[in-house]
Symmetry: C2
């Protein structure tokens, strides 16, 4: 089969690789229908996050079950399914608590020895714990399928940020980052009943989506000027809940600074700024909570899926370009150069 | 009147200062009955926290109301009262939410222009918002008075750490720091229903109090060895709730490392290690929350007071030495040299 392989910084290639196959009785093989490129893939693409040359890449996909191991009971050949960006056994104490990302048997797509999402098929370990069935009718609805693809990571991650930031009905929320996760954070905050949502971003194409997703205000400034602008919009106090969806030192510093005293920052941007942006003295003086991390997408899939199917949320607008599998390298370039927000891969 | 004045590192003196007096209609003057020295006073004593030479010091006291301004309605001359370590107006939106430490009119005892707690009397701004009446009968009960003195800061701060760490009935809790706040954190965790409480500390006199307060295990190791020991005690997973009551880089690093995935660190040690100990990558990977800060003692006073009066909690054992006002400099030396845990000042 063909799949995307990362050989080094700025070097992803679509190559012939061994076919995905059932190896363990709990495995399933999923033939990919839709996949996509994640902002976090760019950390690897740019060489900031280290990868072993030859590793697969991609961790968001939905598709059709092609083969199942002897122990698999929850999905059958032919089922349309979506995978969260981490596989997990579904039975350990962490999975039972909804923290599937801490499953001791869990893992990330694309780690050495495993398939990545940006390929024609994927071996799915612990298929019963990992995969979520989608209605068969969705297969014919491209807009809906695209929205469902977002549940694999970005929408679930935006939701995680909103929960970590303690978004509640009536809350004033600020979202740092106008990438796909930040935008999904806006959508998640609105879904949780936020009254006011300030989106920080400077790309009109993105902030337009933010407004469509529920942002009531947009702040284009950065750094200190952004902090001042958010404080001005919030009676001097800052936002009850701040979603941090970038992961740099500056974005973390901004996020903490625009949180209201007693508020919380929900951070889901993979931290690449170390702790330098975490101003603990400021957090201490103002009782600002820092929560979040890698989103247990599997835990959120059922409720988010229900809301996508019911038309309550539609994250599909975060995808603004499509490429076929062979176009994946071009998709990375486009996202790296910021000419695309989020690239969908069709099969 | 006589009060404690800090002139520089290792230089606190008891001196003649202007009498405390009502200046604003909302003020009260409280004649001190009991005060004490706080671990956080040591940061100033050691010169780590800067003070203007000549500032007053001390922020924990209880006493008898001696004079009230025209607008004061909640306390009367002769009332026995306790003050939290921050004054606050009691009417602003933060006070109404229970975050009195963010009251825009609030302030810390001992800041330039204000009286400190380690003196014969204290002018209390916003007396209605700040002071809490104690039963008159307590005046004759030294053990009870001493327990009530702890509500001014250490017990309230330990409770804040426990809440920030999300201690719940049945939780496994770890407490980093065997100072008075850490010990009160143990007591607070037990009060909130923790099932298992691991106290980290190496001074037997202190860990004995921890056991008396409800610690089920004591870990004497530090750093990596402490992390291993706590993980061993908790089935490899760490504690649901970790109370950080020191404020150094090492203590923060330990606290985050011993938190269970998905757990929370409640930190109340005034951070003096910057953010270096805040390992955001580890927090991110394991979804560990960092919460806490300066404790809104005023918010917790009513419920903690009720439990002290009912005999549910008795934090008085954290005081292991008493000095008269003139003995305050000796009290600082004893706490600095760790020959005393917490020094009470009698008047």
């Amino acid at each position: 089969m063909r799949a995307t392989v990362i050989h080094g910084p700025n070097d992803v290639r679509v190559e012939e690789v061994p076919d995905a196959a059932v190896r363990e009785p709990g495995d399933a093989v999923v033939r990919t229908v839709l996949a996509c490129i994640c902002g976090s893939d760019l950390w690897a693409y740019r060489g900031v996050a280290k990868r072993t040359p030859g590793q697969r890449i991609g961790h968001e996909f939905l598709g059709v079950v092609e083969e199942v191991g002897a122990d698999v009971t929850s999905v059958r050949v032919g089922d349309l399914v979506v995978a969260p960006f981490v596989w997990s056994d579904g039975t350990c104490e962490f999975c039972r608590e909804g923290l599937h990302t801490s499953c001791p048997r869990g893992g990330f797509w694309g780690t050495p020895g495993s398939d990545g999402g940006q390929g024609e098929a994927v071996r799915v370990p612990y298929a019963d714990g990992t995969l979520v069935r989608l209605p068969a009718e969705a297969a014919g609805d491209e807009r809906l399928l695209t929205a469902l693809l977002a549940l694999s990571d970005v929408m679930a991650t935006g939701h995680h940020a909103a929960l970590a930031a303690r978004v509640r009905p009536g809350a004033t929320v600020a979202v740092v980052g106008d990438g796909a996760v930040g935008l999904c954070g806006v959508l998640a905050a609105r879904r949780l009943g936020a009254e006011r949502i300030v989106a920080l971003g400077r790309h009109p194409a993105r902030t337009d989506i933010a407004r469509r997703f529920g942002a009531t205000d947009v702040v284009a400034q950065r750094g200190e000027a952004a902090v001042e602008a958010v404080r001005e919009l919030t009676g001097g106090h800052g936002a009850h809940a701040v979603l941090e969806a970038v992961g740099t030192e500056e974005s973390m510093r901004t996020a903490i600074s625009i949180a209201r005293d007693g508020g919380a920052v929900g951070y889901v941007g993979v931290p690449h700024g170390g702790s330098a942006g975490v101003d603990v003295q400021q957090m201490f003086n103002r009782n600002v909570t820092l929560a979040g991390g890698v989103a247990p997408a599997r835990a959120y899939l059922p409720e988010l899926l229900a809301d996508v199917l019911a038309g309550v949320i539609d994250p599909s607008p975060v995808f603004d370009r499509s490429v076929p599998l062979d176009g994946v390298p071009e998709g990375y370039r486009a996202m790296d150069e910021r000419t695309a927000l989020k690239v969908r891969v069709t099969f």
